[in-house]
Symmetry: C2
Subunit: 256 residues, 2 copies
């Protein structure tokens, strides 16, 4: 039974896509079979893996809109033990097409439940909003990872997201648990970043990962070559940090 | 007749809110009367000005949902020559409430056209998406400013945004022009950031502002004290960069 993680935070630019890409690669390095799912119409994850979201034939859109589309037809292997369900531009129209009914947010969960392909981890990337696409991720997953940029403005959104988590747990998906909060873009030299990570640890003492991702050019560059930072700059501190995160998640399972 | 600027980019975390806050403050320093409008349900701009988006009585929501609500009732003065139309959490429900009809995206424009309050500049902050809220901003404004973070993943979205601009110009708002592209979080020491800004200038030669905003802790810290960076750290390079941007916009008007 695969562990299904959704990486979400409605605040933009906090490292959701970067975390799915590099945590996925780090878990694959530990020899786990990993499925990555891109629910963001902008397709940052898809593009970072060398697939063009403008031209892709089958995507997450097919899974959400059409009944009984098999996972095997939509996914594409991107190297090692990693497979991808890509995003496409038309994901942007899903919200209007599916409407606001309860059924609309169960589409991805049903598609994953119907599939018998063996994976150890499913990582779901979400857009910076709390609409139908992110809701599909929150309902399909059983663990939530929240990346938080070490800046004040990014901290504000965590409270709202935890309120959303409670509502999802009470209704749509009682098994969804908070896996943890990940500090991202935490530059050691920046006093402000240190203050923010200390504040996050103080407010959420048992829910913050030990691993913290520092600012790193290599992280921003690796998608240009369709690589994770683990392949692009294996000894970069950010690559080491994502490896440490993968071990914390795989070996010390601490859903809180 | 006020100049109406919308600051938009569906990529998250590129400095939209930071630009509206600090460009607004820099224009007010030049003694212009400035109206800031927060269309993001997360309310980063609103919170940065000391107004609580969770408790505010009147907000942009009232303007978009109700007919004939006057601007005067919704706006609040936040110091100097700056007024704010705050965001509230219920903005998140606007998309479903207004539906997908043509009228849905003209709500803000009508509210601004009906008002006779004299402003020199209206700056509109938008959420990281291309839904009804951002569309209201694109239809209400006559100039578009696109902040682009100096990272590869953030560059990808510019092409899609310019496609959206063309569609808006051909249909909903023919007077909307591209005011310019602003490089943000461009650290001088980072080779990657320099490559990205050079690439942006090469691809959009006459559309990129001379002013570039470097990485700066002061920018991330100033919202904690409900201040712009111009008040919080007047001599910080980021404060100087936003002053230079304001002068470029006010005195060299170069819609392209
Ligand atoms: N630790 C880091 N150091 C430096 N740059 C980073 C780091 N993490 C992410 N980035 C860069 O910052 C930008 C934002 O990251 P990313 O796109 O992963 O965030 P996101 O939360 O997925 O954004 P969105 O809300 O738009 O989906 C990207 O250009 C990425 O390459
Ligand atoms: N030049 C800069 N240097 C350092 N930090 C910055 C800079 N510009 C913005 N920031 C910080 O980066 C984060 C993202 O900026 P901001 O929230 O303005 O982006 P945004 O595009 O409005 O995000 P969203 O897509 O979530 O609305 C904030 O915490 C902000 O304080
Ligand atoms: Mg993303
Ligand atoms: Mg913002």
């Amino acid at each position: 039974m695969a562990r299904k993680l959704v990486v979400a935070n409605p605040k933009g630019g906090v490292g959701k896509t970067t975390t799915v890409l590099n945590l996925g690669a780090a878990l694959a390095e530990l020899n786990y079979r990993v499925l990555l799912i891109d629910l963001d119409a902008q397709g940052g994850l898809t593009a970072s893996l060398g697939v063009d979201p403008y031209r892709v034939q089958h995507s997450a859109y097919s899974l959400l809109i059409h009944d009984h589309v098999s996972l095997a037809r939509v996914l594409t292997h991107v190297g090692g033990t990693i497979a991808l369900i890509p995003a496409s531009l038309n994901l942007a129209s899903v919200e209007l097409k599916l409407g606001a009914g309860r059924e609309a947010v169960f589409r991805l969960r049903r598609a994953l439940d119907d599939s018998h392909i063996p994976f150890d981890y499913v990582l779901i990337d979400t857009p910076p909003s709390l609409g139908v696409l992110t809701a599909n991720g929150l309902v399909a997953a059983s663990e939530l990872l929240i990346p938080v940029q070490c800046r004040y403005l990014a901290m504000r959104g965590v409270r709202t997201l935890l309120d959303t988590l409670k509502r999802v747990q009470q209704g749509l998906n009682p098994e969804l648990e908070l896996l943890g909060i990940l500090g991202t873009m935490c530059t050691a030299e920046s006093a402000h970043a240190r203050e923010v990570i200390d504040e996050i640890r103080a407010v959420f003492p048992r829910k913050t990962f030990r691993a913290v991702i520092a600012d790193s050019d290599a992280l921003a560059e690796s998608p240009i070559l369709y690589q994770s930072v683990l392949e692009y700059a294996p000894d970069d501190p950010a690559a080491q940090a994502y490896r440490a995160l993968a071990q914390e998640i795989a070996y010390e399972r601490h859903t809180l």
